[in-house]
Amino acid sequence: MKPFKNISGIAAPLMRINIDTDTIIPSREMKTVSKKGLAGGLFADWRYISTESREENPDFILNQFPYNQAKILLSGSNFGCGSSREHAVWAINEWGIKVIIAPSFGSIFYNNCIKNGVLPINLDEEKIASINNFVSIDPVKNKLHINLNNRIINYDKETIENFPIDEQDQEFLINGLDQIDQTLKKISLINNFEEAHRGQNPWLK
């Protein structure tokens, strides 16, 4: 996983609640046994007039300049609810979005973001509305600046400090660590636990 760098970028408002992972990437767009090649399927049913011809829907925000270069997505509550498909995050990441700001997230989707170098930020609706008001005036000029090391968002003359993120998630994102490698360092702990656990539950082998 690539380390997460500080981001200064265009924020695209997709201010709907309950945007589910089927909408982020419909199942039929998950065509190969692979984590790659999924950006084309991102928001396919909203993004294209016809998913077959790939004719773009000009009304969809991520098709419009300058939002087609957005690195940050603003959205409504329960973003990424529904299916566990990690393809939703792989597609978002590959398309170029590195930060998603919403009042709440689907729990599996949130975990999937952390595992793939995408930063999910929980902010209350008022703060998101305030950011949206600012960036909508001139999305190119009015960029958002996100510093994960210090957990700070800067926009306009405002600073949002200490946005919520688990310390360990922060460390994984900043260092681009691989969790399997980290856990395998604790293998003797796991072995010892497993032996005792199986002693109590011998049928679980």
Partner: protein, 470 residues
């Protein structure tokens, strides 16, 4: 003492506190399917990482396989075969318990798992599928993960997790005839929202839950994720123990006696603390149906779609306008008697033998309305065989339903089969999201009884007076 059921299982599986609230949690069993499991296995192969305990891993084919009679590896979904073959290649030569298409144990992961005693009380269990929470019905600590977390569990038998907040949902009252676990969960989500349990693990308790059979509990816990919960769980009781006895992967002989003793003690202590409690009474509940594109947009079958001015938040109003437009419905409209084009019985929510029996009771000696396309997809090959042994397949086909091989089928559209644009479908599935069952399809979630009754009338209908009392 004063521990919740969730905490007891969690603490028994906590290998180490890693600081900052994170714990290294031991995972007992892992179930994979061809859609996301194939990717996790391939990814580990590419990195040359071994599966730590293949015998604790299970796999089957359910998501994108066709369900037509005589189906094989070739799928209507253009690249579906690749997923099937990739999974098969990855498990070949390993001791992973694999239920391939010709295996009598094949079926939807969350149907096969309880049916074969793979999910057990007090164990930790994951699957790269959001409806893994279903298995909480047995007192299993089970939740859905992404592919990357699944790889971690395959490689290490652990996950790094923060203990979630805990919610108790206590449900009292005897359910009226024709009202089911599906109606309870739709009612719950309609009252508290589809992120009503965001960040929580939910324990269901109360007299209504005690009275539910295991398969109904599976339906209830199945939709905990639609309530935003990390998982749902129900304390095991004598019904659970009876249900699991003799299953293929359940403990056997003396082990079963020992295990049963452990399971009997798996319940929240009387003084256990929950972060939140919801109390519901379901003695006057009626069947519930969704009208919109989120499971929270559900109403009593005798009710009307809300009016826009009943909603406080502007985001909810916008969501409602969009949903009404998508569904071809108006605010204030009655849901009953809305004409339907299709009826679907299947999915990990409602495709078990008790679901098929309930639907068959309504369908017996009746015909579905002209012009309605109706399909029944049993949840597993075992459910299908059992239903056929009881003659249920004949009831379905005589009524005009198609009778299929088991799989996830038209719960979602992977490019294979759909009902068609703007078709109105009454469905026993779990998600009514935009385009979920195919481009522009209009899904109404309901119980098997309601789906069967609606198929007969060609309109959204209650099963009451259609054979349920007898």
């Amino acid at each position: 003492m004063n521990q919740t059921l969730f905490e007891k299982i969690w603490n028994q599986h906590s290998i180490k506190n890693l600081g900052d609230g994170n714990e290294l949690i031991y995972i007992d069993r892992i179930f994979l399917h061809e859609r996301t499991g194939s990717i996790a296995l391939k990814s580990l192969e590419e990195r040359n990482i071994d599966i730590r305990n293949p015998s604790q891993v299970f796999a089957t084919i359910d998501h994108i396989v066709d369900t037509f009679p005589g189906r094989g590896d070739t799928t209507l979904m253009p690249t579906g075969t690749d997923f099937i073959k990739s999974l098969r290649a990855s498990v070949e030569g390993s001791t992973i318990n694999f239920f391939d298409l010709n295996n009598p144990n094949q079926g939807i992961v969350h149907v096969v798992s309880p049916e074969q005693g793979i999910a057990l009380p007090g164990i930790t269990y994951i699957c790269p599928d959001s409806h893994t929470c279903s298995l909480g019905a047995l007192g299993t600590l089970a939740w859905g993960v992404g592919s990357t977390e699944c790889e971690h569990a395959l490689a290490t038998n652990t996950l790094i997790k923060k203990k979630p907040r805990l919610m108790k949902i206590n449900i009292e009252g005897e359910l009226p005839i024709g009202v089911t676990a599906k109606d309870i969960v739709l009612y719950l989500i309609s009252q508290f929202g589809s992120n009503g349990a965001a960040g929580y693990a939910v324990e269901f308790t109360g007299s209504t839950i005690n009275a539910l059979e295991i398969e109904a509990r599976l339906t209830l816990c199945n939709m905990a994720v639609e309530f935003g919960a990390i998982t749902g769980i129900i304390a095991p009781d004598q019904k659970t123990i009876d249900y699991l006895e003799g299953k293929q992967f359940s403990p056997k002989g003396d082990d079963f006696i020992t295990a049963s003793e452990q399971w009997r003690n798996l319940k929240s202590d009387p003084d256990a603390k929950f972060d939140k409690t919801i109390n519901l009474n379901c003695s006057d509940l009626s069947p519930y149906v969704t009208w919109g594109t989120s499971p929270q947009q559900a109403i009593s079958i005798n009710g009307s779609i809300p009016s826009l001015d009943q909603l406080k938040e502007s985001s909810e109003r916008e969501s409602m306008i969009r949903a009404l437009n998508y569904m071809g419905l108006s605010e204030g409209e009655k849901i009953k008697d809305k004409k339907i084009d299709a009826a679907f019985i299947g999915s990990c929510t409602n495709s078990r033998i008790s679901d098929l029996r309930a639907a068959a009771k309504v369908l017996k000696d009746k015909k579905i309305a002209q012009g309605v396309k109706a399909i029944c997809v049993p949840g597993s090959s075992q459910v299908k065989a059992q239903a056929e042994a009881e003659g249920l397949d004949k009831i379905f086909t005589s009524a005009g339903f198609e009778w299929r091989e088991s799989g996830c089928s038209m719960c979602f559209f992977a490019g294979g089969e759909s009902f068609g644009e703007k078709q109105r479908i009454i469905s026993t599935t779990n998600r009514n999201f935009e385009n979920r069952q195919g481009k522009s399809t209009r899904t109404h979630l309901a119980s098997p009884e309601t789906v069967a009754a609606s198929a007969i009338n060609g309109r959204i209908s209650e099963a009451k007076n259609l054979g349920l009392e007898s």
